[in-house]
Amino acid sequence: MRGEASLRSGDTGLMMRRSHRVFAVLLLVGCLCGAFVAYGSLDPLPSRNIYPDGPAVAADYRAYVGDRVLVSGPVVATEPPTIRLDNGAGDTVTVTVATDRRPAVGDGLTVFGRLRPDSHLDARRAFVVPDGRLQYTYTASALAGLWVLVRLLRWWRVDASLAVSPRVRPLGVRDLLCAAKRRLVSGDDDHNVEG
């Protein structure tokens, strides 16, 4: 701790420690990128309860006909319930679901069942997520993110060697707002070291 406190800008030790940090983070991000690709190349594995999902079905419907799939999507028609599946890259299918659930248009429907030819899905289990519930979830999640962000900014600080350490005394909410304003006005990035 004393070693960290004695570091000042321009100190070679500080620059080294900073570059070590950057290097370590880049290394970890590299690992993560490898994992994104490794996981992305895995196929569904029904024998281990890992089923094709909505994006997979949307991308290649015929590949999964006869298989059990686990999909969810917005209800676009009722009588019978029809959901839209898409993979976010331009592939979309609409699937008619054989179920006794009666969702309204705009609700979400999650279905586990067997995929039939001609855009039919025999539901073995299905449940409805009413329209608005998703809104609630997003709102609560945004609040949570904001709460944690404010707490992190109040209780932690970053020094010039990019080390993150707890503050002795937390920033007041007013200090936080002032700092934000200062940054907006002058764009400066103060690495103030606490006593």
Binding site: R21, S41, N87, D91, R151
Partner: protein, 163 residues
């Protein structure tokens, strides 16, 4: 996932309860556990940039879901450990992991269509474990439960350990 507020409250409750045992666990460190509870849902980036969109762009298979697995959590928590000052790295990694693992555990109780949770233990094992299906991800009940727990634990700890 239940909503993130539920996860963050669970992280808060766990870390606050640990204050009974660990002197150093100040609100700053409780915050780290709360941040850890957010980590797995960075996988929700797929809502902004879908897997297939990235895969098309890069020409390789791609899945954000990694961030919601044990392996992903180990890496993201390590990023926190690397950024923390030397004296704190172990505490930061530990608390981020605690928050993140509590998130995965809570998600393992969710009601799902197949009756199995997603393969969150990857790369250790790739299997969908049976889930008791206690709640839907969009239900407010877990939020109420964790909210009450957070207040109760916080009051209790304040009484036992006035800081």
């Amino acid at each position: 996932m239940p909503d993130l507020l539920t996860h963050v409250l669970a992280g808060y409750t766990l870390a606050t309860a640990l204050r009974v045992r660990f002197d150093w666990l100040s609100p700053a460190y409780v915050t780290v556990c709360m941040a850890g509870a957010l980590l797995p849902d960075t996988a929700k980036l797929y809502l902004v940039v879908p897997d297939a969109a990235v895969a098309t762009l890069l020409g390789v298979p791609f899945s954000w879901y990694v961030l919601h697995t044990l392996g992903g959590v180990v890496v993201t928590a390590s990023v926190g450990g690397v950024l923390a000052r030397r004296a704190d790295w172990l505490r930061v990694v530990g608390l981020l992991s605690l928050g993140a693992v509590s998130h995965l555990a809570a998600d393992g109780l969710l009601l799902t269509g197949s009756g199995h949770s997603k393969p969150m233990l990857w790369p250790l094992v790739r299997v969908g474990l049976p889930t008791p299906g206690l709640y839907l991800s969009t239900e407010p009940t877990p939020l109420v439960v964790t909210g009450v727990a957070a207040v109760a634990v916080s009051l209790f700890v304040r009484r036992v350990r006035p800081s």
